[in-house]
């Protein structure tokens, strides 16, 4: 079975632009979570979606938004990009929205904002 897939793998944007990152969960998994990982730090929670509904939101500004589609894939959108948004964006899938289920991570999207 394929693992979590993310696209694109790398992305370069300039300040003020908008970006859309995509994630496909493991087959059979209905929950997707998004994390931001800055170099040298652990991942920071952004959003969790389960059955197309937002189940949790981290301490990120409203410039960050996400959605989940009927096939359980997900998009993370970031508007008005800042230099500080440069990071590895990770998507994790789990079987359900219950945190007893382990989260499996994708390879990430490396975003560079110039």
């Amino acid at each position: 079975d394929a693992g979590v897939t993310q696209s694109p793998t790398h992305l370069i944007k300039t300040r003020g632009q908008h970006v859309t990152l995509r994630c496909s969960p493991i087959s059979g998994h209905k929950s997707v979570s998004w994390y931001q990982q800055v170099l040298g730090q652990g991942p920071q929670f952004i959003f969790q979606y389960y059955e197309k509904e937002e189940r949790g939101r981290g301490n990120f500004p409203d410039r960050f938004s996400a959605r989940q589609f009927p096939n359980y894939s997900s998009e993370l959108n970031v508007n008005a990009l800042l230099l500080g948004d440069s990071a590895l964006y990770l998507c994790a899938s789990s079987r359900s929205g219950d945190s007893y289920n382990e989260q499996f991570f994708g390879p990430g999207t490396r975003l560079t904002v110039l």
Binding site: Q41, G42, Q48, Y50, G56, A92, S99, Y100, Q103
Partner: protein, 111 residues
């Protein structure tokens, strides 16, 4: 607010030299504690889940243990391929789906 602190930040071992990594946590009701391995430029790879104090899990040269305040990842007779950053994360009963991560311990094993 949930917090996770990992120590040491970096650890250098000789091949075969056993050691332990520490993860101290504060959480408003622990639902689960997770250990991941992360190689440079890649996503974290799931290793273990621990749910209650006293629980232990093993996988090859790795063994994870849990108390009410901390978890240890014991590495027995490590090999160079065990070199990676090891991340610890907790999930609280009050915030399903959100994992709070520590900043990791970067392990280097020299042959």
């Amino acid at each position: 607010e949930d917090q996770v602190t990992q120590s040491p930040e970096a650890l250098r071992l000789q091949e075969g030299e056993s050691s332990s990594l520490n993860c101290s946590y504060t959480v408003s009701g622990l639902r689960g504690l997770f250990w991941y391995r992360q190689d440079p430029g890649k996503g974290p790879e799931f290793l273990f889940t621990l749910y209650s104090a006293g629980e232990e899990k093993e996988k090859e040269r790795l063994k994870a243990t849990l108390t009410k305040k901390e978890s240890f990842l014991h590495i027995t007779a490590p090999k160079p391929e065990d070199s990676a950053t090891y991340l610890c994360a907790v999930q609280a009963t009050t915030n399903a789906g959100k994992s709070t991560f520590g900043d990791g311990t970067t392990l280097t094993v020299k042959p």
